[in-house]
């Protein structure tokens, strides 16, 4: 196929208040190409794509797109319908599917006039079946989307775009919710479609995917296009340098020999309201000097396990042993007192109290400490000094320690939580998705602290969807699926991926 330009973003800029989210970004997309758009959080990737799709109006710059007769014509800005009509399809990270209607209905919604009866069903069905067989994307069409799996929903999203004759497909972090095998299948299907003339832009920060599946890559930093190269010329190191602006060191811990067991879960069951909040007869032992990685697709019981270890959920059966002694009062306060440190998954809602100040959040887990209070009256000078010291030590940046903690960015909220947890030198650390949504700098800070805690003699339970993170940090790996834990003997991505997907190895 002849390589011709299908899309040009010319000098796009967008400002939100004092933040310049996109600064003079120029990107070209060739026909049949897979272009990876990389950048840290807040680098402006999503803003750029939202301008392309007409959700935002750029402050300056324009967009040209290939029309039916092959010429590049300017695209009407700030109008999603125009973008749709011009053949741009967007698959958002959060699916835009109505769950109470079927996949078929979601795909055809809006394609015909609202006031026509649904007459052309047969024609529409034929078209969708055609697309499915051409692209290899299969999904059940006639059951409500609420009953489909995440992978199926994503395929419906892509089918939706293709049904509207998209010839440019934008995917925002498409693999965040998929198993490695599902991700591989997605990319091989995309390849198949690009050979039919589709062009793809995918946004990601997973290096492996970029190197394995893209033709070309563009890196954004602070809203600017800081580099674009053929993937064949790229290396992980090169890309990382472009993304952060300087070379970061990948955290790679030294292996050390684990000590004796400190925490044991014995044959624990929790009957939740649905399968995703249940645990079935799980047993687990955590040793000192050990990071135990729990891999798995989210929604397989990780959150109940985390709640259980945090003291938020009581086991229906089984016991939790701390150094061989069963814990009697399982409640959050008691768990903290016994030396558990918790880094929750939802840092905004469970990690901090957003309306309280940074300094108050730093001591919120030990309010009965006589250092902090006198007969129930808080000692504000001690609390403020503590926050001042910890903010410097853990590099928490924000509008000030006396300001509401919800004003901090996600990375700084996580650092606040790290400061609170690690200053107590906990023996057992539960880290649930600790680096999700963080940029590389903040993520490596988190990982460094986890390793330090391990080296000091603590045990760390690391729950993560990011298999690369688990493979990099964990001394031992178990896979969680359907509320069960499965030991992993192999450390290959493939074997673990298959276990996550529920296939026997």
């Amino acid at each position: 196929m002849e390589a011709s330009t299908v899309l040009k973003l010319n000098g796009l800029a967008k400002r939100f208040g004092s933040i310049l989210a996109n600064d003079d970004v120029t990107i070209h997309l060739q026909n049949g190409e897979v272009l990876a758009l990389l950048g840290e959080n807040g680098a402006g990737k999503t803003t750029l794509m939202n301008m392309l799709f007409g959700h935002y109006l750029p402050d300056s710059g324009n967009i040209e797109i290939k029309s039916i007769n092959g010429d590049l014509v300017p695209l009407e800005l700030g109008n999603p319908s125009a973008a749709l009509a011009a053949g741009i399809g967007m698959v958002h990270q959060h699916f835009t599917l109505a769950e109470n209607i079927t996949a078929f209905e979601n795909i055809t919604l809006g394609a015909e006039s609202l006031f026509s009866l649904r007459r052309n069903q047969r024609k529409a069905e034929k078209k969708i079946n055609n697309i499915m067989s051409n692209s290899g994307l299969e999904a059940p069409l006639d059951i409500p989307v609420g009953r489909l799996s995440v992978g199926e929903r994503q395929r419906v999203e892509i089918l939706k775009a293709l049904y509207r004759d998209a010839h440019i497909l934008v995917l925002d972090e498409p693999t965040a919710v998929l198993t490695p095998q599902e991700a591989d299948a997605l990319f091989s299907n995309l390849r198949r479609m690009t050979s039919h003339g589709l062009s793809v832009i995918f946004i990601t920060h997973k290096m492996r995917e970029v190197l394995a599946f893209s033709d070309r890559l563009v890196v954004l930093r602070h809203g600017k296009n800081v580099g674009s190269m053929e993937t064949s010329n790229a290396s992980e190191k090169k890309i990382a340098r472009l993304m952060v602006g300087s070379e970061t060191q990948k955290v790679s811990p030294k292996r050390i020999t684990p000590g004796g067991p400190i925490l044991s879960l014995n044959d624990i069951s929790v009957a939740g309201r649905s399968k995703r909040d249940s645990l079935q007869n799980i047993s687990l032992t955590l040793k000192s000097h050990e990071i135990l990685g729990i891999a798995g697709i989210s929604g397989n019981g990780q959150n109940v396990l985390a709640d259980l270890i945090s003291g938020l959920v009581l086991p229906d059966k089984g016991s939790i042993l701390l150094k061989g002694v069963a814990i009697q009062n399982i409640n959050p306060l008691n768990m903290i007192k016994l030396g558990f440190g918790r880094i929750p998954e939802d840092r905004h809602r469970q990690g901090i109290v957003g309306g309280l100040s940074v300094s108050e959040n730093m001591v919120i887990e030990r309010l009965d400490d006589p250092l902090i209070q006198n007969f129930g009256f808080l000692r504000s000078s001690v609390i403020n000094d503590n926050a001042q010291t910890l903010s410097e030590k853990y590099d928490v940046r924000g509008p000030g320690i006396d300001q509401a903690s919800r004003l901090l960015s996600g990375g700084n909220i996580q650092k606040l939580i790290l400061a609170r947890v690690f200053e107590q030198q906990p023996e057992i650390i539960l880290a649930n998705q600790p680096t999700r949504g963080l940029d590389m700098g903040a993520a490596s800070d988190v990982q460094r602290h986890l390793i330090e805690a391990r080296d000091r003699g603590g045990g760390v339970i690391l729950i993560s969807e990011d298999l690369d993170e688990i493979l990099g940090l964990a001394d031992r790996i178990v896979v969680m699926r359907d509320g069960n834990l499965h030991d992993v003997n192999s450390s290959s991505r493939e074997a673990i991926g298959l276990m996550m997907a529920g296939e026997s190895v």
Binding site: N50, H55, Y56, P80, S81, L84, A85, M90, H92, H94, T96, L97, A98, E99, N100, I101, E105, N106, T108, L109, G110, A111, E112, S113, L114, F115, S116, L117, R118, K160, R164
Partner: protein
């Protein structure tokens, strides 16, 4: 026990049930359309009053019965539009706006009535809708007797049930309404206007509610009284949940309530000497709550209900 059985076997009981259910059918369908698109409309109680007052007054002023119905429909749509503007593009609290509409619409109706008729002690009467004689149907044995006693508005209500069901389940418009109440982004991503769909749903839904009010003054009675709506709007809000947002179940819910109410009136006359009348008056509401408790446990709420959507935010 025998008494109740005797009541249940009379055609007048079933005719009364259907008559009492009619305004509720309009109201519950209106609330259902609003809520399916994602907006709770607590203005329903006030919109009932507006419909009752405007329809009756227009007829009294000489617009004719169907002219009165049209006026009631448009007045309901107007108050729906206020609610729609406040809750959809402005995204204000649906509870506050809805209750505000109820207070405002009720007071405006009473005010207009008093201003137009300052001195009357008994309200002027109109010639209301008469029972409709439909040739073949009226000749059916038992059902004919029940249906023969109904006016055109009851028939309209039953047709509306079919129409709303058809629109929701068989048209692209219905698809868009259901989708916008579940995930507005799905509609936006397909290039349709979330605001337009939600606002139209509220306007049409509110207009239907007003017809429920108009039935009271133009079919059930022949004049407008203060306090005549008497909580029927609130009952509809509960019935929507009972109906799981489905038109067919909404009809069943309305009929059930109508039947309870018709039954209590008859039991009052038969057993009034033994049990205080208030117990019977209370019965339909208590039974509704009981039915609701059972039905609402498995209710499948429109996921975006009560959640405002703002353009460009995701």
């Amino acid at each position: 026990m025998i008494d109740i059985l005797n009541i249940l076997l009379t055609d007048s009981f079933w005719a009364a049930s259907l008559r009492i259910a009619t305004p509720l059918i309009f109201g519950v369908l209106g609330a259902l359309i609003c809520e399916r698109s994602g907006t709770l409309n607590l203005g329903i109680e006030g919109i009932f009053v507006v419909g009752a007052m405007c329809g009756w007054m227009a007829t009294w002023l000489g617009a004719g019965l169907w002219g009165g119905i049209l006026v009631a429909f448009l007045c309901g749509a107007f108050f729906g539009l206020i609610h729609a503007l406040l809750t959809v593009p402005l995204g204000l609290s649906q509870h506050v706006s809805g209750l505000g509409i109820t207070l405002f619409a009720t007071s405006v109706s009473y005010f207009t009535y008093r201003t137009a008729l300052p001195d009357v002690s008994s309200p002027p009467r109109i010639e209301p809708f008469q029972p409709l004689d439909i040739p073949i149907l009226s000749d059916l044995p038992f059902i004919g007797l029940v249906l023969f006693q109904q006016t055109a508005l009851t028939w309209l209500a039953l047709i509306m049930v079919l129409l709303v069901w058809y629109v929701l389940n068989r048209t692209n418009l219905g698809l868009a309404i259901k989708a916008v109440g579940d995930n507005p982004n799905s509609v936006d991503a397909q290039g349709l206007s979330v605001y337009a769909i939600r606002m139209w749903a509220i306007v049409i839904g509110s207009a239907l509610m007003a017809l429920g009010g108009a039935f009271l003054t133009m079919s059930a009675f022949d004049a407008f009284f203060f306090g005549m709506v008497n909580g029927r709007g609130w009952v509809c809000i509960a019935l929507v949940i009972f109906a799981s947002w489905r038109p067919g179940k909404a009809l069943i819910g309305a009929l059930l309530f109508g039947a309870f109410d018709a039954l209590q009136v008859r039991l009052q006359t038969e057993m009034g000497a033994l049990v205080p009348g208030q117990v019977f008056l209370m019965a339909p509401y208590v039974l509704s709550i009981a039915a609701l408790v059972i039905a609402a446990r498995s209710a499948d709420y429109p996921r975006a209900l009560l959640t405002p959507w703002y353009k460009g935010q995701r």
